[in-house]
Symmetry: C2
Subunit: 403 residues, 2 copies
Amino acid sequence: MLKLLALLIAVACVSALDNGLARTPPMGWLSWQRFRCNIDCKNDPKNCISERLYMDMADRMAADGYKEAGYEYVNIDDCWALKERDPKTLQLVPDPVRFPSGMKKLADYVHSKGLKLGTYGDMGIYTCGGYPGSKFTMETDARTFSEWGIDSFKMDGCYSTTADFPTAYPIMEFYLNKTGRPILFSCSWPAYMQTKDINYPLIAEKCNIWRNYDDIADSWDSVKTIIKFYGDNKGNFSAVAGPGNFNDPDMIIVGNRGLSYSEEQAQMALWAMMAAPLFISSDLRSISNESRDLLLHKGVIAINQDKLGIMGQRVFAVSNIQVWTRPVLPAGSYALAILNENDGGSGTTVKFYLSNLAISSKSSFKLTEIFQGKDMGVFNSTTEFAIDVDVSSVFFGKLTPVS
Amino acid sequence: MLKLLALLIAVACVSALDNGLARTPPMGWLSWQRFRCNIDCKNDPKNCISERLYMDMADRMAADGYKEAGYEYVNIDDCWALKERDPKTLQLVPDPVRFPSGMKKLADYVHSKGLKLGTYGDMGIYTCGGYPGSKFTMETDARTFSEWGIDSFKMDGCYSTTADFPTAYPIMEFYLNKTGRPILFSCSWPAYMQTKDINYPLIAEKCNIWRNYDDIADSWDSVKTIIKFYGDNKGNFSAVAGPGNFNDPDMIIVGNRGLSYSEEQAQMALWAMMAAPLFISSDLRSISNESRDLLLHKGVIAINQDKLGIMGQRVFAVSNIQVWTRPVLPAGSYALAILNENDGGSGTTVKFYLSNLAISSKSSFKLTEIFQGKDMGVFNSTTEFAIDVDVSSVFFGKLTPVS
């Protein structure tokens, strides 16, 4: 009996990283896609990687509705540090020209807005941009982040070898936990191993979120390629998603230049289906009202943040049309996304039955379109759905059982 | 001397098709990209190829500012006819279910709005959609179009052989001219011969406009591919463009689902640089105000419609940045477009001198940004330009000599 109890405890303990964070997919802002490694503050002071950029974004998140909607992390990406560690302490040093107040002051500022500050590093010798990595200094770096008041750490995998990942990422997780400060741990672990056998249960045990695939770019092609990867779900990584632990298809590019509005809706809908972290990477100082309203859409965020934390899956794909479902609350409900990736004509009428969605329930369901909040009627197992979906667009709805 | 005169006249006569039409690039609307070969009027009455569709678009063009801006052609594309010709007259017959009033009535309606009606056929046995082609009935078809009051004819090249083109297109042009009705002649001739030696002077002699390349799709990828083809300018087809005769990079997709707003601006700017026909293929009944205002933008249309009719050219291309110039009026002026095709980061500062633009003038130039009408200052041969261009975006300006 004791043995069984110990086993049960062990199973519970290894089932997932449990630092209390990311009970639903984390939401926030991340600089990489829009601002990259722009360190030219002399000629481009507004867009360079500097404390000003993150303070500006914190201001906008607090003032323009993002915080209320659930976006809380302000995340630094690569290129924030000096190229050399402090020779006396071996600590990372933020570039004093671009971060003159220092990281602790920046964290204080972000916290004063009711938000959290994330930072970036790498498990190799260097970061992808050539700044110091954490390979031999994990304990120091975790302690430094904790002392600064950092709330999230993304550890990239450049200048390393994937063979080290199953050892190195857990060790960093150990040191982050050891600080006593809850620090969300974002791992790039599987992103560097796309074609290999990947130990997803171990990743989920050690990371709150993890990038599975390539970086997003500011284009519809990039979004479609990512959606395909997560729809293919090779290695069944969707199975390890749940409260505390989520697959991360990378940043939200809503508000940039590469997506039409209907494509922006499609990204938001599919990221909600995937229970994906929502890290916006666009310029919140100049975003259009239309894109901002989409980022703040309560119905979309409600699906994304559904407390079951189940990752949706692609249930069928035919002729550039694909259908995803995701079980959500209240019990027995589903989110439904129909994506039309065609690039000509005026759209497609997609017809199907509940059974095509792998929904075998005998219930009837009320279908509500999410963007407009439109009631689409009641469906049961014998009703044929017929839903118009324009090209480069998504239908996004919720099926709720009718008692 | 008489011989020389005759030669001069002959040269003048063969230099270009001279039916008095298309002195500047024609503007209008064309159904294909958005509405394709949708003949399902039972289930999709609003979007099917039918007289209703063309009457709806004529209504919008007349009422919503398009006509005033210069858009005048309402152009039918494939799939309007019955699959069989009239057995008694061998004339083409519009589908009586979808065009119950007949073509003459539709032309009357379009003309009553102050607009012109275009139609579509093919020089082969069938059209691309499998409807009757004009191969053996060119004289009859030209006469029929004239009797109906048709103002423009696009002759496609499916179900044919390119070896026939240099004979067949000129014959159709002969019969169109013979009707006495000015009918704009749009040829698909070079589009089917992209990789072969193409007799562009002959094409320009026989056609008002001609498609050089593949059909456009509703995507940024498609737009970029087309811009590359016209920038490469293989065979120097830009040289034959001029009043009465223009290369046609295909429809304007502004108002559809595949381009962001900055990409829509880029299409409009580059089509203006190319002195390209502007045939909108989106749904004018539901277009956003933003896209409509762009289609109606006076500054953009002024460049497109510049009376010199010179086709612009790509003058340099580096790292996904390309620069185009086009000589325009007043004499010595240039339109300037800088396209940023990158898909990440917050844009590029493009720096260059007038000499990089192949402008050797000793003049100083005033530079005016066209979309916002913004004065950018005065430049001469020693001034370095530094212009910020966001990703998936264009800078579009005009250089006017300062006396």
